[in-house]
Symmetry: C2
Subunit: 326 residues, 2 copies
């Protein structure tokens, strides 16, 4: 394991401190936790937006904390859900009196712990609503689908709605709309290594790739021989298009999983755009980069979000989060 770390058991704490040190005017770490919040939280009368999950997906989730996006992100240990206590602290810290909205990726631990935190908050009189993101079409059964890169669009759009003064119900409605209209599919060339484990989560031969990987170092749904960027892009995009009828306008995200050079993401994007043009799908905005990673995994995912006028306006709204510029 080659990593630039101090103590494998201290990486999340060190990272949280390093992030706040980079953006001291924008972010704060809640004392005794690895929750990162907007420096000015709670914002009075604004609905607070809280997300989070296991660490190792950076810039998700703390990179999306900022005006116009998340109010706080709870960071668990690497690939491990944050505890209910941490999420509860996040909820309390961002509650400005208008309630708190939770963006949860669909993993059993995340769902359980965020829901437990919501119950603790409601017992203290804080109104809480939530959305569970399940954009990963690698899994056929929709209720078991994982939340992956499409989650970033939920962060952006729910955050923009809250910044514009949206009520908890209005934010819930628009976040549900994003979840209904977003689909992702990923692949990997290499596994990744959780610092505290010290060895890769699976093995791949030099000529092999995994299709349909998640973002927690788990193996995918199919292992096959590495092919060209064009064929990889086509396989991911086709799977997304097959799952949902994309028509009209869409946002596209070509997301790197950690160690894929931006050169390769651009090469994938070339083919994705070409496929969408052929299908008559109008690309309203494209995002190419690392948005939802899996430590140093090599690979990428393709996300499509079908857009209406409301979603376009919210996607375009200003964001001050360090890792999402709008």
């Amino acid at each position: 394991m080659k990593k630039i770390i101090n103590d494998p058991n201290q990486v999340v704490q060190d990272m949280a401190e390093g992030m706040v040190a980079a953006y001291p005017d924008k972010l704060k770490q809640l004392p005794g936790t690895t929750v990162i919040a907007r420096k000015d939280a709670p914002v009075a009368k604004k609905v607070g937006i809280v997300s989070g999950g296991g660490s190792g997906h950076e810039p998700a989730h703390a990179g999306y904390v900022g005006k116009g996006m998340l109010d706080a992100a709870a960071a668990g240990e690497v690939f491990t859900s944050p505890t209910p206590d941490q999420v509860f602290e996040a909820i309390k810290a961002v509650n400005g009196g208008a309630g708190v909205f939770l963006v949860i990726k669909n993993y059993m631990g995340d769902v359980l712990n965020f829901e437990m935190a919501a119950e603790l908050a409601e017992a203290e009189g804080i109104q809480v609503e939530k959305v569970i993101v399940n954009d990963d079409v690698a899994i056929d059964d929709q209720s078991s689908r994982r939340g992956i890169a499409g989650t970033v669009f939920v962060h952006k759009i729910a955050g923009a709605k809250a910044e514009q003064g949206g009520s908890l119900e209005e934010i819930k409605a628009v976040a549900d709309k994003v979840v209904e209209n977003v689909r992702s599919m990923g692949m990997a060339l290499t596994p990744c290594t959780v610092p505290a484990a010290g060895t890769p989560s699976f093995q791949l031969a030099e000529n092999e790739m995994e299709i349909g990987i998640g973002i927690h170092g788990e193996s995918g749904i199919e292992r096959k021989e590495i092919t060209t960027a064009d064929e990889i892009a086509k396989e991911l995009t086709d799977k997304v298009l097959h799952d949902f009828e994309f028509t009209g306008d869409a946002a596209v995200m070509v997301n790197g999983l950690g160690s894929t050079p931006e050169m390769e993401l651009s090469i994938v994007n070339k083919q994705v755009q070409s496929i969408l043009a052929e299908k008559g799908i109008n690309v309203y905005q494209t995002f190419v980069g690392e948005y939802m990673t899996s430590l140093e995994m090599a690979g990428c995912s393709v996300t499509l979000l079908k857009l209406d006028d409301e979603l376009k306006a919210l996607l375009n709204a200003s964001s001050h989060a360090p890792a999402f510029h709008g």
Copy 2:
């Protein structure tokens, strides 16, 4: 070699097309070249800013093309200087009548080819000025120092000065000031593989790291056993501080070389900030992320730029480049 590409000899062309496809409203590719320019180039009466170099450093250089930063970036083959012809095309495409300024990293091929292009342009009556960036303190002899991540600060500040209507002489003066006040130092945990070569540029054992690497897959000035993030951050920062007297305000860049997770960059940043605070250096702004990479190399560099009021204002000025948000 595990890469998401089509043809190793076609990666730069594919990448250029994929980049423009991601930002069709902002960027254009000059026909018959792999030069990426602002869509609205040339901007009348504005000095055009041109940079570039070998590919494999993405988001450098084309990611810095946009209003407020570069007008064009010439992309050579991977780790290979762009030809004089390509740079000449870039110069002609961005010449709005006020002259063109070249930001060149200090590599023999880049310097020769950019200077040859400048001569071709001057022969056609285009006024050209230049700066050669040599921020890498790994090399003792200042005239042989390579341009690495500090180059991005030159792009930003020269670009902002041009956008504000600065003359060629004024831009030259402020770019020279950045070069005088910027220093970087890098290290790597792994080598990288040029697609057309197919094998890594050097070998490192599982417990080894290279200190003082460049960004072209070359090995460093010292090989040693991997140590902690805190010690690595201290070694890089001390070397930078030893080379130049940083006092007052500074900008800090903790740059990932391609496959270093953002988690690790944040951990390095924590220690860098702590060292600077001890030394009484006031950090005006911090940049943590991938700004000047070396394909999928694992490693990082630390850059410091001493700031005066002029440099602060230009660093803060608005940038519309895809990879630098100001």
